[in-house]
């Protein structure tokens, strides 16, 4: 049983974890950079400790400082959230070496899954299907030698890779040599390691991931899939569970493969195994994310399992609490970004003058901000995750549309309207979601579909507001602003 947990993260996921700690009777300790003082997550925490320094490297990525704070404040455990230090085996090791509990898998499991080649070999040995291909250790000649047996089109990938660097698609044999040289050169420059591997390029596939949970008592289970194909600039914006492409039989097979993958590295806690699923229903291991994921709520909604609470329970040495699982209904998550979808999704900043989230049945909001907060360019532009649950996919889409219509954010440009239109798009309604769909549907960029009556109504409201000085704020002596009393407004009632 954990007593005091340091959450080595910020924003929305820090709020999520600190709330779970609170519910579990664990004291939550937040750490925050100077520019995060007063952020929502520091209020939810039982204790909030300021980090010294500026910039990510000196603050949220500063292992030494974070560990020191954990020890000085009597923490018995560290939860890394996602991003930041969550997949740093050296940090996990340092936490454990200090006698604290690392809420996540072992450093060995993180390392094994972090290196693509090692992961691939480990998975192959465990009987988990991997994309047909060959690991190559002997440079260019070996690449040329194994290519024919893999077949075309093929994909060259940097062994140490990530982020698309050192990755090359080759459609014909005549381009193999030049592309292989380029891939190896890129890999060497980016990662200091020119090893590549060759695998079949599977076109028209979906990215589908399986949530797994494993405890210290030998139990490893899967909690169904998440479909995360809708992406912009390689970041997910729309996630759902279950996937329309998966039936009970395929779910069972993929779930078992995911559990095999987890067992192969003695996995502990919550993790996600990503697969590529072909149109014919074949599936292949892509990678394992050794942390809680941004889109975990959709799994929570359809399974009824509190994944973060289970993480805390498992790390504290207890057995997981979930019994037999049923997938119930349908859940969708959209990510609200402070960005301008009509301007190539460029990040936006501003003050959240109004931030009025939707409510009502089946609606969940995971956010790290509230009305009045400033959105700055210092951190990720994700403002919130809006999640809905409904009995069917159709109803979930309708509910999401309704919730997005209700969501009011004024003072900072967001992608709310883009998400709203996405929910109505025939490809989304029919479940034809693919990773390239945003570029395919809006090749010249997205612009809102704005009915003339709405534009006119907006103009009417703006002019009426301006001429009546609507909702103006007065400055109180303390410097904070507040809405004037209704009595002073009565005399200005419109018209």
């Amino acid at each position: 049983m954990l007593k005091r947990t340091l959450v080595a993260n910020r924003g929305e996921i820090a709020c999520r974890i600190l709330r779970a700690c609170n519910e579990a009777g664990i004291e939550g300790v937040a750490i925050h950079a100077a520019n995060d003082a007063g952020s929502l997550f520091t209020e939810i925490a039982d204790i909030a400790i300021p980090l010294e320094g500026e910039g990510l490297a000196e603050t949220y990525l500063n292992q030494e400082q974070i560990l020191k704070i954990a020890i000085q404040n009597g923490c018995d455990s560290v939860h890394p959230g996602f991003g930041f230090l969550s997949e740093r085996a050296d940090f996990a090791q340092a936490v454990m070496d200090s006698g604290l509990i690392w809420i996540g898998p072992s450093p060995e499991a993180i390392t094994q899954m972090g290196d693509k080649m090692t992961a691939r070999i480990t998975m192959k040995a465990a009987g988990v299907p991997v994309i047909p291909g060959e690991e190559v250790d002997g440079g260019l000649e070996e690449v040329l030698a194994v290519a024919p047996s893999v077949g075309y089109p093929l994909l060259l990938k940097a062994t140490a890779g990530g982020g698309g660097k050192g990755m090359r698609a080759v459609y014909e044999e005549e381009h193999l040599e030049s592309e292989a040289k380029a891939a190896m050169r890129e890999a060497l420059n980016a990662f200091g390691d020119d090893r590549v591997y060759v695998e079949r390029l599977l076109t028209g596939s979906r990215h589908i991931e399986i949530q797994v949970l494993a405890d210290k008592y030998g139990r490893t289970i899967h909690l169904g899939e998440r479909e995360c194909s809708v992406q912009r600039r390689h970041q997910k914006v729309f996630e759902e569970s279950p996937s329309v492409a998966i039936d009970a039989e395929l779910r069972q097979a993929m779930g078992e493969a995911a559990c095999d993958a987890a067992r192969a590295v003695n996995y502990e806690g919550a993790g996600t195994v990503e697969f590529l699923v072909t149109p014919t229903g074949e599936f292949f291991f892509l990678e394992m994310n050794t942390r809680i994921q941004v889109e975990h709520p959709v799994t929570e909604m359809v399974t009824g399992v509190d994944l973060v609470r289970e993480q805390l329970r498992i790390a504290g040495g207890e057995a997981m609490s979930c019994g037999e699982l049923n997938i119930r209904g349908h859940a969708i998550e959209v990510r609200l970004y402070a960005e301008d979808p009509a301007n190539n999704f460029l990040p936006a900043i501003g003050q959240l003058k109004r931030f009025i989230p939707p409510t009502g049945p089946g609606v969940r909001l995971d956010t790290g901000v509230r009305q009045g907060d400033a959105v700055t360019p210092d951190y990720d532009p994700m403002l919130a995750k809006l999640i809905v649950w409904a009995p069917s996919r159709k109803e979930a889409l309708q509910r999401m549309g309704r919730a997005l219509d209700e969501f009011v954010v004024l003072g900072c440009t967001t992608n709310i309207r883009f998400l709203r239109e996405l929910c109505d798009h025939p490809d989304v309604v029919d479940g034809w979601t693919t990773t390239d769909m945003i570029d395919r549907l809006w090749p010249d960029g997205w612009n809102p579909d704005l009915p003339a009556i709405i534009a006119d109504a907006g103009l009417l409201i703006a002019s009426a507001c301006e001429s009546t000085n609507h909702g103006r704020t007065v400055t109180s002596p303390s410097g904070s602003s507040q809405t004037p009393s209704p009595f002073s407004q009565l005399s200005r009632r419109y018209p």
Partner: protein, 149 residues
């Protein structure tokens, strides 16, 4: 009353005692809440003013209306002197009163981890420098102004 929107300038006649109707939309109530009638149905709207811009949320759409002051010239801002994206001022290369030529670099800003040079669009004298090195700026912020020579 005149506003600037993402699709150009829009004018609306202003009445001190209230304008309540425009095309198909009628303003039915405006106290702490704003209510609008469209096609016989009432809808709640939300509005807030940030700087010179009214942000309006109505029927799931969020719109921005920037007030154009009466008597202001019809030309748009010199787009070269506004921040193209939110970011941080890395360097200010000119000071007030300085003569500059078209093409001179005036400021360097960082946005999305890339550097952008703010360049003079025409010859003139620097009239105002609105930000200092290290300042955060929002998209569209007027960084400096240069007199017409």
């Amino acid at each position: 009353m005149e506003f600037k929107t993402s699709d150009g300038r829009k004018e609306i006649e202003s009445h001190r005692d209230g304008l309540t109707f425009i095309h198909g939309a009628t303003l039915v109530h405006m106290g702490n809440e704003i209510w609008l009638e469209i096609d016989g149905r009432n809808h709640k709207a939300t509005a807030a003013k940030v700087g010179d811009t009214w942000w309006v949320h109505v029927l799931g759409h969020t719109l921005q209306f920037e007030i154009v002051e009466a008597g202001a010239s019809g030309t748009d801002d010199d787009s070269g002197l506004t921040a193209p994206m939110p970011g941080k001022i890395l360097d200010v290369l000119v000071s007030v009163g300085q003569n500059v030529k078209a093409g001179d670099a005036l400021m360097v800003m960082e946005a999305m981890k890339m550097e952008h040079k703010i360049v003079a669009g025409h010859d003139g004298i620097v009239e105002a420098v609105n930000y200092n090195t290290g300042d955060q700026v929002i998209q569209g912020a007027e960084l400096l102004s240069i007199s017409e020579s």
